[in-house]
Amino acid sequence: MVKLLGLKMLRDMGRSKAVYIICALVVTIGFSGYSLMSIAYERLMDTRDAFFSATDFSTAFADVEQAPLAVAGRLAAVPGVSVAEGRLTDTARVQALRWHEQSGGKREELLAGEAELLLISTRPEGMNRPYLNAGSLPRAGRLETVLGAGFAAAHGLRPGDAVSLIIGGQATELEVCGIGVSPENIYLVKDLADMLPDLSSYDGAFLHYDTLAALLGREGAANSFAFTLWPGAGIDDVKAAVEDILRPYVCYRVYDRADHVSTAMLQAELDQLQSMAGVIPVLFLLVAAVILYITLFRLVEQQRVQIGALLSLGFSHRAISLHFACFGAATGLLGGVAGGASGILCAVPIWEYYLTFYSMPALGAGFGAAYPYLFYSALAGALFCGAIGWLAARGVARLQPAEALQPAAPPAGKLTPLERLPWTRELLTIPGLVGLRGVFRNGRRSLFSLVGIACAYMMIASLVSMNSMVDIFIYDELTEVEQQDFTVYFNAPVAWADARAAVSHPEVRRAELVLDVGVTCKSPVASLEGTLKGLEVGGELLRLADAAGRPLALAEGGAIITAHMAAALELGPGDWLEVESPGPAGQTMRLPVAGVTGQYMNSTVYVPLRLAAEFQRTNGACNSLLVAGTEQARRDVADRLADAARFTLAEGRLAKIDKMNAAMGSMLFILYYMAFAGVAIGFAVIFTGSLVCFEEMKREMATMITLGLNSRDCLEVISSGQWLLTFGGVILGLPLTWAATEAMVRTMSGDMYTIPNYLSGEALVRATVLTLVAVVLSNAVIHRRLRRITPVDIMRERN
């Protein structure tokens, strides 16, 4: 029995294979996303844990001004701390690169002020060792370094080559003894405002402690402590005791591994993957459910007499419901298997992409653990779609056999609500009126079509508007907020007059002083690590504006904060913000919030330059300059400052945008691909609805053709209903789209950034146009079928 009904099912499905394939494809996309993201999440977690373990990554950190190395022993004695280790960190400008004669491959010279390295001391047996891709760890007393893999790859450096750095004001040449990466530089940015790491201009460099201490003249001292906590202990268990010990040495910050920028960004990515793995299949399965329900509901109605015959043969209602559930289950199984398999296949390049993006080595178990996702996807697809099939068959399969053998009683003829409007009947032709009544007579199918179109519209609109999100979230910072041509950075405060003199050049039109201070920002409900940014009042090179684009002006005694900070601290204009400096004096100040900018990535407090300088007690000093000038001016300034001890970088904004474009290339491709998938799915829903409507109204249309109407007239029977449903679907899709984008941004927002609801009018218009194009295409396909109708054959068919 099973075999024969299975045969019947396969042959029935073969007759409408296009619809089942479309449906299976939608399921495939959903489960592909699910398995891809779930596997990438698990694999990335696994890699991260293996990487952390291989490098003995510490579980907590403390930054101080300077303390004796021996303090590490006292820290290790704190209950909750198992191991503690002192180290040195500093930044150094890259002056030149020197390639070994035998080195081949890419050699890219650096101009002065184009790259900086974060120096981190290390010991062979210590914590936070770099994981070596090549070479060996640096030896004590030798001018050797393990270069970050990203920087080395960008400039074609290998073990045996050398880098010349300005360390402690002195040019020092270090031999590259190894290439590696540490958990601390998997997401290394100079400033969170940079958003994406650019390892070609900023990466880590690991030196033996003894070497770095000697170069910095800080032998026996540490400005950073790394420690490992007891299993089960948290940072809050030891923080007070650690701060007490480090207070005499000016303790800036004691923080957990989870608050380290690198690990926090990676965790945010992992959280996003996990959330999206739950959201994506639900969206796609919803659409698949609509297509499948419409298709199977019609199939069951068409096979009503067959169902009667099967019941008369002695098949139970349950067996028949199960038979139709199998149509859904087979479709879901196919989609689930294809989705699971493609997810597993695509998870490998995605994982590799993440490894490249986060500069992580390929550690951890292989993809063997991914295969259960094939089973999960297949099972979930079969069960879900099987349930849809069961629901679709429920009505007819429950009929008494005698009733099933008779055609369904036609719905009572009555005017539709729309026809009561005075102009409707004048607007519509007779075929159009038939189509309109068809929509209301087949209420359940119409409702499902409406929901399907609304879902498709929602998917198109929310995916298309993700481009707006990229613009707002990533590019607005570089194009709308920042207006300078280049920025000059110093590694220590520089007097205002000296800073201005440093960028003096005939082709520099304007220069504005900036003072950045690392601070802790507090509100009555939360606290957040951020930056206090002092800007010149009346400055033009950093254009602050609110989310609606209205300019915000700096005012004495008030602060302008970014949208992310406002969201994290639950502050708005008029509220009071407390800013605390971790510096030597540990000073605090309270400021009224004067405005909130439309920046979602940074935790920045903008204040007048003078106020920031007073707060930091570095009156008359700044640590960077925003400059409007030519590229030649940038090069000349960088050359002139090449030997200056405090100068680090002269970074061009356009070059930064170019690098961003390169980094975003693959993401934009994914966005466009997803938007295309949304359009394809929208077309699938609309086409399925039209096709089912075509099958239902075939006899009416055949009659019309017999009466002398042409195929285009008859098309109105389908198109009028389809346009009406599409209009309703778009209206219903608007709130759905808002809800979907809101859910997506809530899912994607994290501790490091806030993502705004980026739904734009332009995206809605584009989605509407694409939906209408789908209706036009669908009508064109149906029209082709209509032209092939042979009225006599159709009218001879029994219901």
Binding site: A309, L311, L313, G314, Q400, P401, A412
Partner: protein
């Protein structure tokens, strides 16, 4: 007459369509004996199909009692009705109602697959003279051939009761004769009663008893003491 296989007492069926009650069958009482051929005659809407559906467990009476082998079919649960249709009844319809996506042999095998002690499907197909057409789909068969497949599908179950709802209604005279002959041959071979609904009064001459129906009433049951062989019917 031998002992009744099936006994009906005051069977009635009322439908409610559009709020108006319709009495499709009113207080029909009768018996059916093994190997009997009963012809049900009557105009459209007289309740013939309703009667057949109730006998076949395809519908349930609103009032009255139908007993088969000592059991009250009218009190059967849905599950018992399914078993009754599966094991006791062989149905043949005017428009064949074959599954279009299954071949002739597969259609027959489908019925055999759910019945205990079923005949072999190729054998059933051979009995109706279609042994060579088993691999054809219904759309590749003529109307007469499709009805013969339908008969094979009914006999493959070795049913206790043959119920035929206008089996010749969609056939030409030659095929009609073939089908009626086959039905009576199967009745003789299996020893089960055959109930045939028809508009064709000529076929009634081949029956043992004729049920005359009008407006839902079983007006008269006439006995044909000398049934005519199918070959002698005037089509």
């Amino acid at each position: 007459m031998s002992e009744a296989l099936l006994t009906a007492e005051n069977l009635s069926r009322q439908y409610t369509g559009g709020g108006v009650p319709v009495h499709a069958l009113r207080a029909a009482s009768f018996t059916i004996a093994p190997a009997e051929c009963i012809i049900v005659l009557g105009p459209s809407g007289s309740g013939k199909s309703t009667l057949l559906n109730i006998i076949g467990g395809m519908d349930t009476p609103t009032t009255g009692r139908l007993c088969y082998g000592g059991r009250d079919v009218s009190a059967f649960s849905a599950r018992e009705l399914t078993e009754y249709r599966r094991d006791a009844v062989g149905f043949i319809f005017q428009f064949f109602n074959l599954i279009p996506s299954l071949t002739a042999l597969e259609n027959v095998a489908l019925a055999a697959a759910i019945t205990a002690g079923a005949m072999s499907p190729p054998e059933a197909l051979a009995l109706v003279g279609l042994a060579e057409r088993g691999a054809h789909f219904p759309s590749q068969l003529s109307g007469g051939e499709q009805q013969r497949v339908s008969i094979a599908r009914a006999i493959v179950k070795n049913p206790a009761l043959f119920l035929c709802d206008e089996p010749t209604g969609a056939l030409d005279t030659q095929n009609s004769a073939t089908v009626v002959r086959l039905l009576l041959q199967m009745r003789d071979r299996l020893g089960c009663p055959v109930v045939i609904i028809t508009h064709n009064t000529e076929i009634a001459r081949a029956g043992d008893r004729i049920f005359h129906m009008k407006d839902g009433l079983l007006e008269k049951i006439s006995i044909n003491s000398a049934p005519v062989p199918v070959e002698d019917l005037q089509w």
